[in-house]
């Protein structure tokens, strides 16, 4: 099943100035959704027009755990510099597909993926591609905030570089830490205690620290698996705001069980489902979030969004 999605870069509009104004990014979230829809002109872009950088193309992807087929035949376009939400019932393979995107799926013993996933046209699954390199281009934020307990807040931000043995010099490191923490909307809260352990932060702050850590290695894409499900409503709001803001520079893909959240923050929504437990999960439909929520083409989507899922 293939679901094509219009490219967010509107025809006739240069690709770069998709970023909202500073004022708009501070506006309440309610006002963000329509703006997002506006930004993504549903009219198909003229063929050959450059896509926004960081766009991904998933083709015929199937994911296995050993011999168990967990996700079958997904084809989906993920626009660059936009938020794409994966929704669907538990067990339909959202996390599995998300992890396949940065080749974290294969880390699990016996797990493998088939098909192609391209980032800006380059297949991440072609022979000779180093999964380690893929993961530095496609970052990931997990459900449970997981700062490294043996590292300070500052070193957590630098963790990607420290692990690779490429910690920058003091001044450059300070600058990078500040930039990433500002970007993750955390700087003001932690600038006076950068040497403290990441454990000393609240859950929501820890999650923003994890986001800062993910963007410090300069990925094109940031994947988030239910990043708010372990957080309180206020922290959730902060992360939602951050996700919208991140979409100015990164392609954001987020898995969520929260319909209102998907509606608020995403430009594109992809709905996955499975026939029954044990069957593989499949993509049911994908499109502009406004369309999926107001006029889904498939009744299963409507039932799920309305909470009538059996």
């Amino acid at each position: 099943m293939t679901a094509t999605v219009p490219n967010p870069t509107a025809a006739g509009q240069p690709p770069a100035p998709t970023a909202p104004t500073e004022a708009a990014s501070l506006a309440p979230l309610a006002s963000l959704a329509p703006r997002a829809a506006e930004r993504l002109n549903p009219a198909a872009p003229a063929p050959g027009l450059p896509k926004a950088p960081g766009s991904m193309s998933i083709r015929d992807v199937s994911c296995y755990y050993g011999s168990h087929l967990a996700v079958a035949d997904v084809s989906l376009e993920i626009p660059g510099r936009a938020v794409t939400a994966f929704i669907g019932p538990s067990g339909c393979g959202k996390s599995t597909l998300l992890r396949a995107i940065n080749r974290m799926h294969e880390v699990i013993p016996g797990a493998r993926a088939e098909g192609t996933i391209a980032l800006d046209g380059a297949d991440l699954y072609s022979k000779g591609v180093d999964p380690v390199a893929v993961r530095s281009k496609v970052g990931m934020v997990f459900q449970k905030p997981n700062p490294f307990p043996a590292m300070s807040i500052k070193d957590n931000v630098l963790a990607g570089l420290i692990i690779r043995g490429a910690k920058p010099r003091a001044a450059a490191a300070d600058e990078l830490v500040e930039r990433c923490l500002v970007r993750a909307h955390l700087w003001e809260e932690v600038k006076d205690r950068l040497k403290k352990s990441g454990d000393s932060l609240s859950g929501g702050q820890q999650q923003r620290l994890c986001i800062a850590r993910a963007i410090a290695v300069q990925p094109d894409v940031v994947l988030m698996d239910e990043p708010c499900s372990a957080l309180d409503p206020i922290s959730t709001l902060a992360i939602e705001e951050l996700m919208r803001d991140l979409a100015r520079d990164y392609t954001v893909v987020v898995v969520t069980h929260n319909m209102a959240q998907a509606n608020r923050i995403s430009d594109i929504t992809a709905f996955f489902s499975l026939a029954r437990a044990g069957e593989p999960g499949r993509l049911v439909e994908a499109g502009l979030t406004a369309d999926i929520f107001s006029a889904p083409k498939v009744t299963a989507t409507r039932d799920y969004i309305d909470g009538r899922f059996g």
Binding site: A133, M140, F142, G160, I163, R213, A214
Partner: protein
Amino acid sequence: MTATLTRQAPQHAPDAAATLAASTPSWSRRAKNRAASAAVVAAVALTAVPLALVIWAAVERGSARLDLTLFTHSMRGVVGQGGGLLHALTGTLIITGATAIISIPLGLAAAIYLTEYAGGNKLAAITRRAVDIMVSIPSIVAGLAAYALFSLILGPGTRSGLAGAVALAMIMIPVVVRSSEEVLRLVPADLREAGLALGSPRWRVIRKIVLPTALPGLTAGAVLGVARVIGETAPLLLVAGFTDAMNYNLADGRMATLPVFIYTQWSSKGLDTAAYDQRAWAGALVLMAVVVVLQLAARALPPQIAKLRRNR
């Protein structure tokens, strides 16, 4: 506890009060309870008695020779009064240090292999079984094995501190493997995933994330491993032998150690038996103090391990 409940209950629910009153333990049940508690307390006390006895005996008989000479002199040329255990203390530190240097890297490497790489493969199963068997090898057998090994290489009958360290390593390695494996398993899997997802190879994630996170626990395990072997006597008696003099060279000749010092002072007394007895007990006191210090050091680290357990 029960009494408080019955008194308070009527204000809220008279029925419940009645039930509670009815369920107040009968006299015989309370008696049984008391008897059981008393038995437990007695058992604990009985366990503590030998410990108290050992400490008392060592302090009582050993403190007579707990003087400066004890720590500044060897037994070279000493017959009767005087002399010290400097040569044995030095030997113990050197041999145990060498044991740690052999055992910690090997044991940690095996533990890293088991937790981070092996999964459930056959080699892992064999390694685990081998560790299980090594744990239960009698220490004298480890001594004999080291003796045989060094006899093969350097000719029959050679004795050295190094041979002693190898014998002790056979005892310490499985201890380190087990404790390290347990601690590494406490490091949450999502930290490893987060490290991998930042785009770094697995071995770097292990080095920069997993090991630093587990460090307090790994250290505690290593210290307990040292505490375990520092009092070993039989294998050292066999392969490190005994001397009255200082020997700083691991590779060459017999090297005295505290346990063997205690044994020889006790077993081959000269004419002035009291002097030998006192030295043996003073040696025991010093050895016990070293072990206690090691135990306390290992105990000082666990708050961090407990934190790992909580965060899991």
